[in-house]
């Protein structure tokens, strides 16, 4: 399963719910305002580091760049472009957007 989260971890509970309901081995892709969760110093950093032990965590580079956050990414988060987004969707058997 590819989980897709597009909301800031401060503003909404989407990331929290996603991490609660994602099985080990699943992938998480952060897009749009969701990419803030991939940045150092963010409230979600501990939860993301914990999740990294059991899941692959990705963040969409164009969304990080737009927000001036490309230089603040937590080590271990893999950056992808839309190309990589498409690959992730195709590689995993199914996907879920946490709207």
């Amino acid at each position: 399963m590819l989980h897709i989260v597009n909301k800031s971890p401060y503003e909404r509970n989407a990331l929290e719910s996603c991490l609660r309901l994602a099985l080990p081995g699943a992938a998480l892709l952060l897009i749009e305002d969701g990419v803030y969760a991939a940045t150092r110093g963010n409230v979600a950093e501990p939860r993301l580091r914990e999740a990294m032990q059991r899941m692959d965590i990705y963040a969409l580079r164009p969304d990080l760049e737009a927000r001036g956050m490309a230089g603040r990414v937590i080590q271990g988060v893999k950056l992808v472009d839309y190309d990589g987004f498409v690959d992730l969707v195709c590689e995993r058997p199914n996907c879920q957007s946490w709207l």
């Binding site: 719910s17 309901l21 099985l23 199914n94 709207l99």
Partner: protein, 133 residues
């Protein structure tokens, strides 16, 4: 369901996929719960393997005693009771979401299977199509 006659039975006839609708939003504040139900009914009309998960504020959609008269908005909560008539019988609510809101199964207008986060996660993981709103 006038769309039923036009759409069902096309090239998709006979193929059955697992559709899960994940309801995470409260009713009335936004339209997602109401319009989400319409997709559920159409998926059922296509004879798909449909399930509904109520997570986070989505469990509020099922709260008993909704009275919308003063708001002059239609009370659509009875529609959940009609789901059975469309053979939509797999309704799940996450225990953690219910408890965090002080709700129990008997506070809900329809019977649901209450699942732990892990149980629900395992169900989600085997779906073909997951539509959350």
């Amino acid at each position: 369901m006038s769309e039923f006659e036009n759409d069902a039975g096309g090239e998709s006839a006979g193929r059955i996929k697992k559709f899960m609708f994940v309801n995470r939003k409260a009713p009335y504040g936004t339209i997602y719960a109401l319009e989400g139900l319409e997709v559920v009914l159409i998926a059922a009309a296509f004879d798909q393997d449909v399930s509904l998960a109520f997570v986070d504020d989505g469990v509020y959609q099922l709260a008993k005693g909704q009275q919308t008269k003063a708001l002059e908005i239609k009370n659509f909560s009875p529609a959940y009771r009609a789901l059975e008539g469309y053979d939509v019988e797999k309704l799940y609510a996450e225990r953690e979401s219910l408890e965090a809101r002080g709700l129990a199964a008997e506070d809900l207008i329809v019977p649901v299977e209450v699942l732990s986060s892990t149980e629900l996660a395992e169900l989600m993981a085997v779906q073909d199509v997951v539509i959350s709103s």
